[in-house]
Symmetry: C4
Subunit: 364 residues, 4 copies
């Protein structure tokens, strides 16, 4: 692709461009929220409502966006959120994202619904940076053996964390996908979840039908304990909004809490993640890191998340828009814009680094 | 009708389609609220403002949408709200609604302004399911003998409750009806309210003129007591917004309270029903079931209503949109979509059934 | 004019029609608020925000819209607010308004900037109803003798109150008037304020220039006392928003307080009158009647005003829209619609009359 | 230019006209806020939300807009805010602004990024009025010698204050400028900041690149102390939003606090200045004057600012719109409109002058 990326000045512009160039089926799959998309819109709007009471006359000349994220240093407090089937956005798919994330120095969370194997993704990432970090997103599906096998495979491939999605006892309803008869495109496969005996690729219409067996409505905390005990890797819980669930997860050994509503794709009407974040931060009380995703589009949002007690944010759709626009360089520019915005935000808010992003920035 | 229903993914789409295909007079009669339609819009908007703080990691694999509704089990906590003259929407009118409701396992409230007799409606319903439930909506009009006769007729036909509308001392003003010179269409009759000596069908312009004698501005609680004593059936009160009125009704023997503002068709400026609901629930204090209608369009709304203390919701206009779109299959799909959405909502909120839909779901 | 008024179902429709048929200069003069028209919009929006918690099962069959307004009974708690130069809207101007108001049984407040003399207006009103009430709106201009003469003239003509506007130390700035080079049209005169020595009619551009001498920025409460002592008529104060000013006026002998911001035409940014009303009601504490104008467009607004403690409302622009649409029958229909809406509102709120419009209707 | 200014009735109209006539590059440079322009919009909207509870029956015939501004009397409590490169708006640039400001009797804050020298600006201003006041806006850039030299030059040229901008450790990101490849136009120079050894005029794209050396991210309060000690002129701090920063500045010798967010051009998400103002006023506690800029467009805003405790407001973009529309007469009309609006606002609020603009005007 020979798209000139120099006029792209924000993540929003990548979105606008990607919505123009993507075919309807992947475009709608990526952008949709559940039902009336109330939560999808709120995720974004709730960040914008928070005012940043910046400080002046602090020496911010020697500043850094670096942050500890889940026990290791990252170039900024940002992770790439897991999104499915990235080859629908660009032929290089998850490989492009892996390379760009590694180059940018941020962890990539690989979706278990990826169109590229974790081994290939790890190889691509470590070729760029041997210290590149990949976390494996997991569902606990009905076939526990397959779950355990994937966890082991992720570990073997060098992932350094698992991210267990807990907001998906069933798939959320995204109406455009139904109308589009969404299915995994010809020639693409959900590589980690193929069952012996048959391809998953052409199994019908809608991710609901195609992938119902990859999740399990019977999950309880015991299943989390089982996964925790099945892997040497730390496990984060993704998809929590309630304080009590965050606390319970931590008590049972979760090594991190990712406050998320699945990008507004599961329960429409769920609170904006930034509104849920302080409740979860309070409940976790510093025992493990709290991360947040959903509607993060600006460097200012990263600062807001930190000021509310998050250790890092995750960005999902913007990565896809970068990928759809220009493959790896598109993802790289998305991450570079976000880092640049965060760096400028730090400076303008009077912060030299993430430790200065304290709660008083949001309070008059 | 050969409308392909498979692309219909929400009640809103039935609305869009029905507004396109219906002639102006019934379309406007159905969709209008009173005056500036502030309450009509608020009914919907107020549901959407409520955030659902879903729970995770509850086993929701063995879940059910079934609910007790007014003393008996229904397939979901949903009733078909009474709407007038359904044959304006489709030639099969109330018969289609009765069959689809019976098949869906939910009570149908038959409007006393129906274009089909209660006996025919009951026959259609019980042909589908002998246990089908029909409730007769009633006004207490000036001719009390006629009211008593209709109550008896409903009882004889097998209805298992009466629903007395109490928000209609006079008809609300719906401006589109006035401009359309609304009248009961040629060949259609308000079958239950024909007076000896003349048809009601062509009595003038506007429901106000045509039907002024079917209501009575002099009603007081004594009239409710009279109706209560005139029938062996339980009587629900429909149209209450104030706590004191809900409490008074219960004290005088109402067997259920339906919080309603008549779909925004009576007093424009009345509170959204979801805002009135908690006040009424508090006042009723568990003595009888509280139901609510007005703006319910999503399975998430059903959960919200339950979390606020309602036993069930009623849906009116969406039924008409289903009817107008495709007759009985249209109504069936509307109810199926709502049930499916409610089922998914239960799952995503961490509920196995209606008993789990507790107040904490709406509180952070 | 042969406009068919039967399709006009609300005051808003008169507005839409009048804005279409009026020439730009009077149209803009009538509709404009000051500067950015924030207060103009808020006047309307603030009414709509108030929810009416209607009562049910009250006998409202024997109800009445009649109300005591400033010591005498009116057909409804509504007055015609003073508006200038009504002959710009229709050749019959204030005469049409006077006849329609008299026929409707409501007081008319005649603007001192009228295009018809108070004597002619009184003659027209009393020809319809000998008991018709007219109140004379006054400014205290620089020429006190002229003010006193007009007060005496109003008294002699049979007016039963004066309404002193106190929000006009200088004219508000209405930008459309400036751009339109607003002036009193050829052949029309501000009949009460002609000075010996010259016509006012063609004095320049803008009401500001044309009429600066009719007001006086030096007014204080002493001037009110002077006017009070110059006339046997009761004097109301129009244009108050602050509690302390309402209280002061009453202490100094005002016989009524009209909470008004001059229809948003004076200080843009002033509070909506309905927001100011409760403060003034509290301050007046029942000593004299409190009236309110500004954004009243619906019968529900009349009820809201009463529930907040007002004795009556005044409507201004809708009268002009009726006048522009169809002269006297237009005004008559505007008043009839408002009365009908108020009557229906009473019924639907469970009120038999204005005494039932108590504060609890606005509180859950 | 022969634009007829008589139809211009508000600052907003100057904006509309200027946006039409300006070439894209300066137009976008002037109007842009940072990133998504949330703060830019909030700056304006927050003023409009404040209601003015005007007083009546105060003698306002002998009123004045005059105000003490930073120790000397000004024609109104308004200053011209510093804006860069005014020759992009009109060939006369800062000279036109200086003449119009001097004629209007208000201080002009000259941007250190001006396209005209402070000496020429002072000459133009004092030719109109020998008592004309000019304040020099300053950044503390990396080359402290240059800063000191400019401070001395400003003093020598007759400026009577320095205004140190403290919200600019780095330049805010204005996306339109990036897309427009903003640069200082050919033939124009940032005259005060030319370094020996090279022009600044054509240094690249974007003010960020062109001017990065003119600011310094390492600034701390010590640098303010250094500047304070480097000049006999009083120094104001511009760009503060936090109470603690305002207080600190005063403690260290700032002679005034200008609550500003750089017109929404630095940190998007910063609070509206009118929301920050009361916090700073409280913190300063009367020790020095507090000024405010950002979104001031109406005379009512001036009153609001005073009622919140500001001594004066500054207006920036409207000056540019006046300049772009008609050069000096355009600026003069902008200032005349604002003064007229403020004068009318005073009258309508019941104030004879700035001392009457007390806090109770904003409280019911």
């Amino acid at each position: 692709m020979s798209v000139d990326l120099s006029p792209f000045t924000s993540l929003d512009e990548f979105e606008r461009h990607a919505l123009e160039v993507l075919p309807a089926m992947p475009r709608d799959y990526y952008r949709s929220g559940a039902w009336a998309e109330v939560t999808l819109r709120e995720n974004r709007a709730a960040w914008e409502r928070l005012r940043i009471w910046y400080r002046v006359m602090r020496d911010v000349s020697d500043r850094s966006t670096r942050a500890e994220v889940m026990g290791r240093s990252a170039a900024m407090p940002v992770c790439v959120a897991p999104t499915a089937l990235q080859r629908m956005a660009h032929p290089d798919g998850e490989l492009a994202t892996a390379r760009a994330s590694a180059a940018a120095g941020v962890p990539m969370i690989l979706s278990s619904l990826s169109s590229t194997s974790v081994e290939d993704v790890r190889a691509a990432a470590t070729a760029v940076d041997p210290a590149a970090r990949t976390w494996m997103q997991m569902y606990i599906g009905r076939d526990r053996g397959m779950v355990r096998a994937l966890a082991q495979r992720a570990h073997a491939a060098g992932c350094d964390a698992l991210v267990l999605t807990v907001d998906t006892p069933t798939w959320g309803i995204r109406e455009r996908d139904i109308r589009n008869h969404f299915r995994v495109p010809e020639g693409m496969r959900i590589v980690h979840l193929e069952r012996p005996g048959g391809p998953t690729g052409h199994a019908g219409s809608g991710i609901h039908e195609a992938l119902s067996w990859t999740i399990d409505a019977s999950l309880t905390w015991r299943d989390f304990e089982w996964l925790r005990d099945s892997t040497p890797l730390p496990v984060l819980l993704k998809g929590v909004c309630r304080a009590e669930d965050a606390a319970r997860g931590v008590e049972l050994g979760a090594q991190g809490i990712l406050v998320s509503n699945h990008g507004g794709r599961q329960l429409d009407g769920a609170p904006a993640t930034v509104d849920a974040l302080p409740h979860c931060v309070d409940a976790v009380a510093g025992r493990v890191p709290v991360l947040v995703d959903g509607g993060v589009r600006r460097g200012t949002d990263v600062l807001r998340a930190l000021a509310l007690g998050a250790q890092a944010v995750c960005v999902g759709r913007p990565i896809l828009w970068g990928l759809a626009t220009a493959g790896e360089p598109g993802v790289a520019k998305v991450l570079a814009l976000l880092q640049h915005e965060f760096d400028v935000t730090l400076a303008l808010a009077g912060c030299s680094g993430v430790d200065d992003a304290t709660a008083d920035l949001l309070r008059p």
